[in-house]
């Protein structure tokens, strides 16, 4: 793959563009009457879960998590938002910073966001992963347990990274009908830390990319990507996304110093009319992996192609909501017999619009050769609440 290193022209132009936009926004802010009083306005929101997990191999556990969201509006054009995550894992409290960013609402069509934010890559990661928004009791396996039920390691984690994002919305024919574009430039992914070998993995190990694990970039390469959204009817959205980054360097000869790249594509759609809701999202990643030979202390670069996704349908019957979800994950196209197919059957009951009891049964077929046995069938029942 071609190097994705950011050339000097982009490194100069991007900050210049952002400075110009910020100056323009600053002038406009000074001219605008603020809708918020000098005391500012803030909102405490968030979501959480409390429930039980049963697996075929005998795991029986209660679990809980909470994710408070802090929204602070300085003026009608400047908004800061932060989401924290608290959950219990292996007897300890695990904390995380989902996002912490500030947005400038430049005009009716453009926003600029800086900080750590949920990447506009597909729909699920940015909008649907909170438990009270996700209609099924667990996350689709391709996204892991991030923000959802624990115990499942995804192949492509929900994406949250540090950098800058520009959002643009172009109305096309009436309210609720838009073409949207979101572009981002962020630190990019890093590889898992390895005890030996290069930035890639030991033999027969598919790399796990770690997004947002560090406050600094590990190389001079920045991840660039974006999402094009077509909302041609208010109840239907189709999105196409892509991203590209280099996440490490080859450590061993003969390719030592060569960058290892990630390229990923995503197609997602969301449709809701009346009581019927359909969501689907499919993504594909091509990842350079350093396959090390510890006998000769050399390595070769292999291109690993992986893909996964889900399709989900729900039907609302008063306070009840049956759900069906089909998911599929292939961590390595070159490896046979390691795909996962999952059939999910769920039933939700809404005590209020933002408090539901969710039950989901996963019928998992095939084993993934990644150290995470996903062939276990699972039953999950929990409260999901948004506040």
């Amino acid at each position: 793959m071609d190097s994705a290193r950011v050339p000097p022209r982009v490194a100069l132009v991007v900050p210049l563009v952002l400075i110009l936009a910020s100056v323009h926004a600053g002038v406009a802010l000074a001219q605008q009457r603020t809708a918020i009083s000098p005391s500012h306005a803030y909102v405490l929101s968030g979501y959480g879960t409390a429930g039980a997990l049963y697996t075929q191999d005998g795991e029986r556990t209660f679990f809980t998590s909470v994710a408070p969201i802090f929204l602070f509006q300085f003026t009608d054009r400047v908004l800061a938002e932060t989401e924290l995550e608290f959950e219990l894992e292996e007897g300890a409290t695990k904390t995380g910073l989902e996002y912490a960013d500030i947005s400038l609402l430049l005009n009716d069509y453009i926003t600029v966001t800086a900080g750590k934010f949920l990447l506009p890559f597909g729909i699920f990661g940015q909008r649907l992963h909170p438990t009270w928004i996700n209609r099924f009791a667990t996350n689709p396996p391709v996204f892991g347990g991030h923000g959802g039920v624990p115990g499942v390691e995804g192949l492509l984690p929900i994406l949250s990274d540090i950098g800058v994002m520009v959002g643009a919305v172009l109305p096309v024919g009436g309210i609720g009908r838009n073409v949207t574009f979101s572009g981002f430039l962020t630190n990019g992914p890093m590889a898992e830390a390895m005890e030996e070998g290069g930035a890639g993995m030991e033999e027969e190990h598919v790399p796990e990319l770690a997004f947002g694990e560090s406050v600094e970039d590990n190389n001079k390469n920045k991840m660039i990507g974006g999402r094009l959204g077509l909302v041609l009817a208010p109840h239907f959205e189709l999105d196409l996304s892509g991203m590209r980054a280099a996440y490490g360097d080859v450590a061993l000869p003969p390719n030592a110093g060569t960058q290892l790249h990630l390229v990923s594509y995503n197609a997602a759609a969301e449709y809701r009319v009346g009581n019927v809701e359909i969501r689907t999202e499919w993504l594909r990643a091509e990842v350079d992996v350093e396959e090390a030979d510890t006998m000769t202390m050399s390595s070769e670069i292999e291109l690993v192609k992986r893909w996964g996704g889900y399709a989900q349908a729900t039907y609302r019957l008063g306070s009840w909501e049956p759900v069906f979800r089909f998911s599929r994950v292939d961590p390595n196209e070159a490896e046979a017999d390691d795909e996962l197919s999952q059939y999910g059957f769920g039933l939700n009951y809404y005590l209020t619009p933002s408090i539901s009891v969710m039950a989901g049964f996963e019928l998992n077929r095939d084993r993934l050769d990644m150290g995470n046995d996903m062939s276990n069938n699972r039953l999950v029942i929990y409260w999901a609440f948004g506040f």
């Binding site: 982009v10 936009a21 306005a41 809701r272």
Partner: protein, 196 residues
């Protein structure tokens, strides 16, 4: 990788930021009802506006503008819709008081076509189809199906509901609409003309 398209895109987006900020388009409650039902409803289960204050909704809609990729006009429309719903307190308002003393509605006589046409215009203007099934084209399901409302409710009930949506349900999501008695009767007449 080709950087020129990326640079061109970033510059173009910056150019879009230069148009005057004072040219914000008007956002109406009816537009907000449409966005709330269709756009917000794609992810969220509809909830009562009274869970949050007007000030909270100002902040939350700004957050959702960034998260949901909607325009500033759509953000203001949803904000206006939610804040309008908050103005319905369940207490008997002047319109509701007037409705309770208005002449009874007769559902059995012939339909007045001109009055029904006025009602159809009001139904469209207030985006009733965003939440209700009205006529053939709409698919709103937040509220009851209005095509057969008179099989379940009287004309007087509908008049009262249009005057004060929360007179019988303090948690109703229906907004308080700016309708006088004659306009409410026009809507009832239109619903009579389409009843099935």
């Amino acid at each position: 990788m080709q950087m020129k398209p990326a640079i061109t895109t970033l510059i173009a987006l910056s150019a879009l930021a230069w148009p005057t900020l004072s040219g914000a388009q008007e956002a109406t409650v009816s537009d907000g009802a449409k966005v709330y039902a269709a756009t917000c409803g794609r992810c969220h289960t509809p909830r009562s506006s009274v869970e949050r204050s007007d000030r909270d909704w100002t902040v939350i809609t700004a957050h959702m503008r960034v998260r949901g990729n909607i325009t500033g006009r759509e953000m203001r429309a949803v904000r206006a819709f939610l804040q309008q719903m908050n103005r319905g307190t369940g207490e008997e308002s002047e319109p509701a008081a007037a409705a309770s003393t208005a002449a009874p509605v007769n559902l059995s006589g012939p339909v007045d076509p001109s009055l029904a046409e006025q009602g159809r215009t009001l139904v469209d203007a207030n985006a009733c189809s965003a939440c209700h099934r009205v006529g053939d084209a709409s698919a709103g399901t937040l509220g009851p199906n209005l095509n057969n409302v008179f099989s379940r409710r009287s004309g007087d009930y509908v008049m009262q509901k249009l005057a004060d949506p929360r007179f019988d349900n303090a948690n109703s999501l229906m907004p308080q609409l700016p309708l006088n008695e004659q306009q409410r009767r026009a809507i009832v007449e239109y619903l009579r003309s389409i009843r099935r």
